[in-house]
């Protein structure tokens, strides 16, 4: 049983290995990273300020404020002046979710490095739990992961096909609208010219010049 505990521990340790994105943040500036997440998909994010001086604690000025919002403006996570943190939620609406990082203005201006890892959909699934529940061996776990990846690829294909169909409809509508508008512009031109002629003719007849 303790062998299995060791297994889970190793798994747990490894899931926290940094496999993430890093970017620099100047004090007083905001950087936002956004991602398109589909509704009802799980998303997990972890952020931390990188300590460039190993062994020394991070100074107080090296803290960020984080806010995660959906495209409709709903707030999903807020961390004020923290060194690290994480958020996990199931996306209620599909759209662009934005995670904004902000460092308060300081003199002298300081540059922070933030480590950020944001996974959603298939990659966000917690595989250690799946392994624990089923007592399944390594090979099977890997193959399960591959199967999940293939399913998500399949779903994504359907989504892309749907979007492409919508765009085709939009293009057809634009095309027919352009044709109508050109025809209408010809009519407008001719009618305006006709009106001009008629008006000037009556005007000159009235003035007894014609």
């Amino acid at each position: 049983m303790s062998g299995f505990g060791l297994f889970i521990l190793t798994l747990g340790l490894l899931s926290s290995v940094a496999q993430s994105l890093r970017f620099d943040l100047q004090s007083g500036h905001t950087k936002c990273i956004s991602e398109d997440i589909k509704s009802n998909s799980m998303t997990v994010g972890k952020y931390s300020v990188v300590n460039l001086n190993e062994g020394y604690p991070l100074p107080d000025s090296h803290k960020v404020t984080v806010r995660v919002t959906s495209s409709y403006g709903n707030n999903y996570h807020y961390g004020e002046l923290v060194e690290s943190g994480q958020f996990a939620f199931t996306a209620a609406e599909s759209g662009d979710y934005m995670a904004c990082f902000w460092v308060p203005e300081q003199k002298p201006p300081v540059k922070l490095t933030v480590d950020f890892d944001w996974k959603s959909g298939v990659a966000a699934k917690d595989w250690s739990n799946v392994a624990k529940k089923g007592q399944i061996d390594v090979m099977e776990l890997e193959l399960k992961k591959l199967f999940d990846t293939v399913s998500s690829i399949h779903e994504e294909m359907f989504y892309l096909r749907e979007r492409e169909e919508e765009m085709q409809e939009l293009n057809i509508k634009t095309n027919s609208r352009m044709a109508w508008l050109s025809f209408l512009s010809l009519l407008v031109c001719l009618s305006v010219a006709g009106l001009q002629l008629w008006h000037l003719k009556t005007f000159f007849e009235r003035k007894k010049l014609l």
Partner: protein, 215 residues
């Protein structure tokens, strides 16, 4: 007997940890590039294939033509440039990492309008025969599984690229539609104004109060 099983379990853990460390996942993220934006990605093993793509998603352009594109510069931890793309509105890249370490991916926007870039970077590792010889628990089948996983990753990357390009095309189409309608209505208005002006001018030329004799 008990100790033997424990040792066996420990070996499985180490093996699994090695296997899991081959997985690198990143979702397609978007950032707004004002002038230069850099992201860093850590490559664990030398010889890993780093693949990715980026697409510039246009903002609502109304007056000007298409944005000329942004540049991508990938720098290795030693300071050499590993890959460059200049003036592209979307590109795929992949290269073999010459050494392990922190790689820098910089997007450079040569123009003043900020652009949103949607990018995806993936670092993939396939254990090779050298690793096989070192660890007897690393089955050749695991190499095949890793290759399969890398192939699926490339499909996923291509899908993300297509999705981002589709979003860009949709933006362009919607702005085209708006512009067509706006320009056509403006054209009608201008035509009507020009003809009214013509009529009014000719009437003025013939009116008695203003220089009748000029005509």
């Amino acid at each position: 007997m008990e100790r033997g099983r424990r040792l066996g379990y420990a070996k499985i853990c180490i093996f699994l940890s090695l296997l899991l460390s081959f997985v690198r996942h990143l979702s397609a993220l978007s950032i707004t590039v004002n002038e230069m934006e850099c992201v860093y990605e850590y490559v664990l093993y030398e010889g890993d294939t780093v693949s990715g793509n980026f697409v510039v998603v246009d903002h609502d352009i109304f007056w000007s033509s298409d944005h000329p594109g942004i540049d991508l510069i990938v720098t290795s931890p030693g300071g050499n440039t590993v890959h460059t793309s200049k003036g592209k509105s979307g590109d795929k890249f992949d290269f073999k990492a010459p050494r392990s370490g922190m790689y820098k991916f910089c997007f450079h926007n040569p123009y003043s309008t900020p652009e949103t870039v949607s990018f995806y970077i993936h670092v993939g590792h396939i254990p090779n025969e050298h690793n096989l010889a070192k660890d007897e628990h690393l089955d050749p089948i695991n190499v095949k599984i890793a290759e399969l996983r890398e192939a699926l990753e490339s499909v996923t990357a291509e899908q993300k690229y297509l999705k981002a390009r589709e979003a860009r095309h949709r933006h362009t189409n919607e702005s085209t539609r708006k512009r067509v309608i706006f320009y056509t209505l403006a054209e009608y208005l201008l035509l009507a104004c020009a003809s009214t002006f013509q009529v009014v001018y000719i009437r003025r030329l013939f009116s008695k109060s203003v220089a009748y004799n000029r005509v």
